[in-house]
């Protein structure tokens, strides 16, 4: 598995502490780690080179702050740099002054144009629009049938048309497109989504066809649909599509997998066009406007910890959390009382599943995202009930909880002695784990202070 960039940087920076400023020499290793992380995330090689130059410029001469570790300082620079690169544009859509607004979907084979067309239609419907779908993919077997089934499932209008035995080719494609637009006008649909055949950017005949379609329909939006798993080649296809069609936006699909999605950076910068949407699954509503910080977190291996931290900041009692962290890491350890407080705080953040899904897929939390689906939320309630059934004294001095007390607690909380035993065992383990954690990084420590209680409870 990939190592989290923060962890790598920590290693690279172990000598930097105690030095006044960052210099060419002392950040050399860190820059190398950043470069590798970006390349492993499939960011284009030349984009990486320029990014590194830029990051070097910004980092050199910076004072090593006391509040932040050098790692955090550099991560912040990298993070800001990537967010700037991706831009802040979200899903703003061009609508035609005279309907229908035409949206042309373009991309390589298998990038997810048909699925995305359906999702886009569903998204527009939700926003009060009346979209019409049409497939002009007369080449791939059953492609038009696929869009028909998709349209049916979301109850969207579709122009089916009739190929009338006409051979597959540009004339047929143009006829279907023209008819569909007329149909949209007649039936009062305000948007027309045109799903096209997947094509290679070097297939000049099919690229010509795309240009003809554009001339015929004068679309307001030409969206380039790209697979999040694409590697270094992303720039080549995106650049050529952009050169021929002047794209207006990008849709990044299959983002529900574990691809880092560095291609987003590459495509964004070869076209200069914003990523407008991301596809997050196969269901029609698995479609979201794009947030640059989210993908930056992924590229850096931070999961969506940003949003999680934001939520934590908003909902948690900071003083209590810090108090807990201090106690947990010190010699005394935390009490069951403290533990219950933490549980209650975590509950405020939302379901355990949703929290675990926001954790990074790497580093100390590796595997937690995958575990999310197996978590039994009721466990949480049961644990709290058990602690509730203890006396104040028991909560603060767990060692006094004898066999008979355990029986009483089990009865009081509607659980069994085994469950009480299990909780006490896990509590003891956690206490030990926290005490040994003093050496961990700041972020790890904080996140664990907040979330550490969950680890033993998933089963």
């Amino acid at each position: 598995m990939f190592e989290n960039l923060s962890e790598k940087l920590q290693r690279a920076f172990k000598n930097l502490r105690g030095q006044g400023t960052m210099t060419e020499e002392n950040i050399q290793e860190a820059l190398r780690e950043i470069r590798v992380a970006l390349l492993e995330a499939d960011v284009n090689l030349n984009v990486v080179k320029d990014l590194i130059d830029h990051i070097r410029e910004k980092a050199i001469g910076q004072e090593v702050m006391t509040a932040l570790s050098p790692t955090e300082q550099v991560i912040k620079i990298v993070h800001d740099e990537l967010v700037t690169l991706l831009g802040k544009d979200t899903a703003r859509f061009q609508f035609a002054s005279r309907p229908p607004t035409v949206i042309l979907m373009a991309g390589l084979q298998g990038s997810g144009k048909t699925t995305t067309s359906g999702k886009l239609a569903a998204w527009l419907q939700k926003g009060g629009h009346r979209p019409m779908l049409v497939s002009v993919d007369v080449y791939r077997p059953a492609a038009r049938e696929q869009l028909r089934v998709v349209a049916q499932s979301i109850k969207a209008n579709i122009y089916q048309g009739d190929t009338k035995g006409e051979p597959a080719g540009t004339p047929l494609v143009e006829r279907l497109a023209k008819e569909a637009r007329r149909e949209a006008v007649i039936t009062g649909c305000d948007t027309l989504i045109v799903d096209t055949a997947g094509r290679l950017h070097i297939d000049s005949d099919l690229m010509d066809e795309m240009a003809k379609l554009k001339a015929l329909l004068s679309p307001q939006e030409i969206l380039f649909v790209a697979d999040a798993m694409t590697g270094q080649d992303a720039v080549r296809s995106a650049e050529e599509f952009h050169r021929r069609l002047a794209l207006t936006g990008i849709v990044l699909t299959k983002m529900d997998g574990d691809a880092r999605g560095g291609a987003a950076l590459s495509i964004r910068h070869v076209t200069g066009q914003p990523v407008k949407f991301i596809g997050m699954g196969e269901k029609p509503d698995a479609f979201e406007p794009f947030h640059p910080d989210r993908i930056v977190g992924r590229i850096l291996g931070h999961g969506d910890i940003m949003s999680l931290m934001e939520r934590a900041e908003e909902k948690l009692d900071r003083k209590k959390s810090e108090e807990f962290a201090r106690k947990a890491l010190s010699g005394d350890g935390f009490s069951l009382e403290d533990f219950r407080d933490q549980l209650r705080q975590i509950k405020k953040l939302g379901s355990l599943q949703s929290i675990m899904k926001m954790l990074p897929s790497v580093g100390p939390f590796a595997g937690m995202q995958q575990m999310a689906d197996q978590v039994d939320e009721k466990q949480f309630t049961r644990v709290e009930a058990i602690i509730n059934s203890m006396t104040q004294k028991e909560r603060n001095h767990h060692e006094i909880i004898s066999g008979s007390r355990r029986k009483r607690i089990a009865n009081g909380s509607g659980t069994t002695v085994q469950e009480v035993n299990q909780l006490l065992r896990q509590y003891a383990q956690m206490r030990k784990m926290f005490k040994g954690m003093g050496k961990g990084g700041m972020m790890q420590r904080r996140a664990m202070g907040m979330l550490g209680g969950m680890k033993g409870m998933g089963r």
């Binding site: 080179k49 299959k254 900041e313």
Partner: protein, 321 residues
């Protein structure tokens, strides 16, 4: 907490944006060069093969999706060789590179599993949109051309019109299809297909499965179940589990190969869409790290656009020969 870690997002600076943007664009346009062109560049520039040449070469390998680790290892070997015997010039460097790449691939090539009694069961697996259905269709025709009797199983009961798509391929190759309705149980239709192939004494059964991301545990468990269903009826099957991978795939390909192997027992790779500008460098990383051979390559949308893998030709195309 957030401030101390990343700073607030709203503070991201605006002013320099434009200049940076333009520089980026310029940078990226350089990548239009193929690995071959890049290597030619490296070679032309260097009478003598020095450290700088090797570093340039490493970058070129990374630019073809071979991956940081694998590229570093290949360069290390070349560097070693340079130290021991010297590398006279660019041409020799290129030959050595070609040899190394080919060797990584050849080490994994092994004879196809023996089939005790027909049918030979071939399962096609992979993430969404890599070309499983198209490859199934082409493969059916390829086996037919070798005078084998073939049956196909439409086990992608999830994606809209996947069954219809495979049916068209069946018509084109003159191969029958065992199917169910969309939304049906893939293991059930597989069971029927296995029974049918057995009783009809077909030589080959090609099973087209639904695309799935390797991170979806329940869908991966479904593949495992299909494999067990197969084993119940034909103990030594599936004989081949082919992971269909798009040649444009980046470093995520390794993770795909790893997790599909865990759940579905992948025996080989089919690299599709090699008629584009991506040359499938990830296959080198997969061969090296996961010991999986490439079995076939897809080079177009026509029925005959499938070829058994040839490591020499593949490396030549990767190097732009």
């Amino acid at each position: 907490m957030i401030q101390t870690l990343f700073g607030s997002l709203n503070e991201a600076q605006e002013p320099q944006k434009k200049g940076f943007f333009d520089r980026m664009k310029q940078a990226v346009s350089r990548t239009r060069e193929s690995l071959g062109e890049r290597i030619e560049g490296v070679i032309a520039l260097t009478r003598e093969v020095d450290e700088a040449a090797l570093e340039d070469l490493e970058m070129s390998l990374i630019a073809s999706d071979i991956g940081v680790t694998t590229a570093a290892e290949i360069i290390e070997r070349l560097r070693d060789r340079g130290k021991r015997q010297g590398i006279r010039n660019g041409a020799e460097l290129k030959d050595l590179l070609r040899e190394h790449l080919k060797q990584i691939l050849d080490e994994q090539q092994r004879p196809v599993a023996k089939v005790a009694a027909p049918p030979e069961v071939i399962m096609m697996v992979g993430v969404n949109g890599t070309g499983k259905t198209t490859t199934s269709g082409k493969l059916a025709a390829w086996y037919r051309a070798q005078a084998k009797t073939v049956l196909m199983c439409a086990a992608d009961t999830f994606r809209a019109a996947a069954i219809e798509q495979l049916e068209v391929w069946g018509e084109r190759s003159g191969v029958e299809i065992v199917r169910t309705k969309q939304g049906g149980d893939p293991s059930a239709v597989l069971f029927d297909a296995l029974q049918a192939a057995k009783s009809r004494h077909n030589d080959v059964l090609i099973v087209d499965t639904a695309g799935r991301l390797h991170t979806k545990n329940s869908l991966m468990a479904e593949l495992d179940k299909m494999r067990r269903t197969t084993q119940r009826i034909i103990p030594d099957a599936p004989h081949e589990v082919l992971l269909v991978m798009d040649a444009t795939t980046g470093q995520n390909g390794l993770q795909q190969a790893r997790l599909f192997t865990e759940s579905a027992g992948v025996t080989g790779i089919v690299l599709t869409k090699l008629d584009g500008t991506a040359k499938g460098g990830i296959a080198i990383a997969i061969a090296r790290e996961l010991k999986l051979p490439v079995r076939f390559v897809g080079v177009g949308e026509k029925i005959e656009d499938i070829l058994p893998f040839d490591s020499g030709a593949f490396v030549d195309s990767l190097l732009g020969n």
